[in-house]
Symmetry: C2
Subunit: 319 residues, 2 copies
């Protein structure tokens, strides 16, 4: 897809990926609602295949390729959930996947990719090393690149999270998603525009990597820093995601690591679900700007649950 996804594109993406993804549940907690004074509906993509919403975008992108583009497999660079999501999508289609990963990636993430038959190419942990290694791999294999977020088919896939939430819970006043590269947020913004135009779209972003917040201020893409416990959100926006976000997202709320960890623990304790630090960011935003949400119906996308239990415990112990 070479243009911003339309309503029909998102409908089609949803039909296309349905056989390959979980329709994830929406949970709520009286205890959390009492705490915030709002009525919150959590869309639990931490229960999605590979433990994160990324399964949707990668699946839609791979299913949307022509036979020719698919023939030599797919490739990406990713240190996180998109790597597993793409390897899984490729395996389901019976083609090869080539994943460029920083050599510093945890062994557990590399094993996740290998479990889906993905071939890993290690590189230095810098963006330029990742990009040049990927270019090499593509030259040698003829694989098609599937970018983690700056890809309209990926964005249309991620939009199906909010679409499902809007179908299940009507008349949300707000919907919140985290923002890193902006794939989930731009998809959420489009889904809201098409399927629930009365709903305001808000993003949560780590204060230690507040490039999306700054980009909204300056009107151009600002570079991400990388100082946050929310390690899935340390990415700069793309030229496909930013324009959609700029036009359709009302506000970006930044939160500190301490606020993120507090929110994460509350969700573990009250909602009884395991989420990773990046996933706690939108709820941390609601807790920070409580007054904005009092008496409102609020949808929050829980993006993923891939966190090592021991690491989470260390974070909680630091608070």
């Amino acid at each position: 897809m070479n243009t911003v996804p339309t309503k029909s594109d998102i409908d089609q993406a949803h039909e296309r990926i349905k056989p390959y993804i979980h329709h994830t549940p929406v949970l709520s907690s009286s205890s959390i609602n009492n705490l915030t004074g709002s009525s919150i509906f959590f869309k639990c993509e931490n229960f999605q295949k590979i433990g994160a919403f990324k399964a949707r975008g990668a699946m839609n992108a791979v299913l949307s390729l022509s036979k020719e583009d698919l023939a030599n497999g797919v490739a990406t660079h990713s240190s996180g959930n998109h790597a597993q999501a793409l390897a899984r999508a490729a395996k389901l289609m019976g083609v090869k996947s080539y994943i460029v990963m920083p050599r510093t990636s945890p062994e557990i993430k590399k094993n996740g990719v290998r479990a889906f038959g993905g071939e890993i190419f290690e590189c230095e942990p810098t963006l330029s090393a990742r990009e040049s290694t990927l270019a090499d791999v593509i030259r040698k294999t003829g694989a098609t690149e599937i970018h983690p977020f700056n890809n309209y088919d990926v964005i249309a896939g991620q939009a199906t999270v909010a679409k499902e939430l809007f179908e299940e819970v009507r008349s949300l006043d707000f919907i919140l998603a985290p923002v890193g590269g902006g794939g989930l947020l731009s998809g959420t913004a489009l889904a809201s525009k098409y399927f629930s135009p009365g709903t305001k779209v808000i993003a949560g972003e780590p204060a230690g990597s507040d490039d999306a917040y700054r980009s909204m201020q300056t009107g151009k893409i600002e570079e991400a820093q990388s100082d946050s416990v929310a390690d899935g959100l340390l990415t700069t926006l793309g030229d496909k995601t930013f324009p959609i976000i700029k036009e359709n997202v009302q506000e970006i709320i930044t939160v500190t690591d301490s606020q993120i960890i507090t929110a994460m623990r509350l969700i573990w304790e009250r909602l009884k679900v395991i989420i990773e630090p990046s996933c706690a960011v939108p709820f941390a935003a609601v807790l920070k700007e409580k007054n904005m949400f009092i008496g409102k119906k609020v949808g929050i996308i829980l993006s993923g649950g891939n966190v090592d239990i021991d690491r989470a415990m260390k974070l909680f112990a630091m608070q």
Copy 2:
């Protein structure tokens, strides 16, 4: 209700409690299925109101009382989830609840009861002290006792967990529940008999309190011990629950504390849900008797998620 619940009793219980409970989701995990070689469907009552299936039985019992029996409120003795469940049901009906709790109960559990307006009577942590204190309370208040499990209305309420699972997942080969006093297990057994007669019912029980296992061997109710991390399952069966279990449960599998904690951690890590130790017992049973379940469709009731995160961490660290 003075007789064993019929199919129609369970149908009516379900209709009666629906407005007051969550229809909880069923989750599955490819990673867990790969590990066990079976196809497991987890019915997540840890997401139920008050964090456990007990919300169902207490609600059905209270809703089934006559106006007269309800007028002076309801009473029980409980150190656990039934206390909160009954206080909540009473509050929803606008009547008082009187809860006898051992003075050693954690403050968090007492606060849970108080949050629903329950009046707490503390006693020594022995069964005889609990029973005599409850008798006193009932004499003084005229409240109606709602037993945590030895009550047919409670059993009919708990049966709705398995009923919902059977409605969502057809042709299960097995369904597993934990067993303490036997309220959930006897309800599950009846639901299976009426709604999915081809499904075999299996219970998981802590080896350190294997009274249900021994009761099945001897044919009479054996006393519970109290040596297990699964603190919700240290209860002796009742004269209403045992006959149903004896007739309809195929097997009771006992598991050690170490097996329980391993199973609990796997569910946290792979299924991404927080469960309490007692809740991990049936999955521990599947891991222990793996061959029995290979290639089978298996339903597991996750009974509750009320565990202190710090305590869970200590358990994991002990392994």
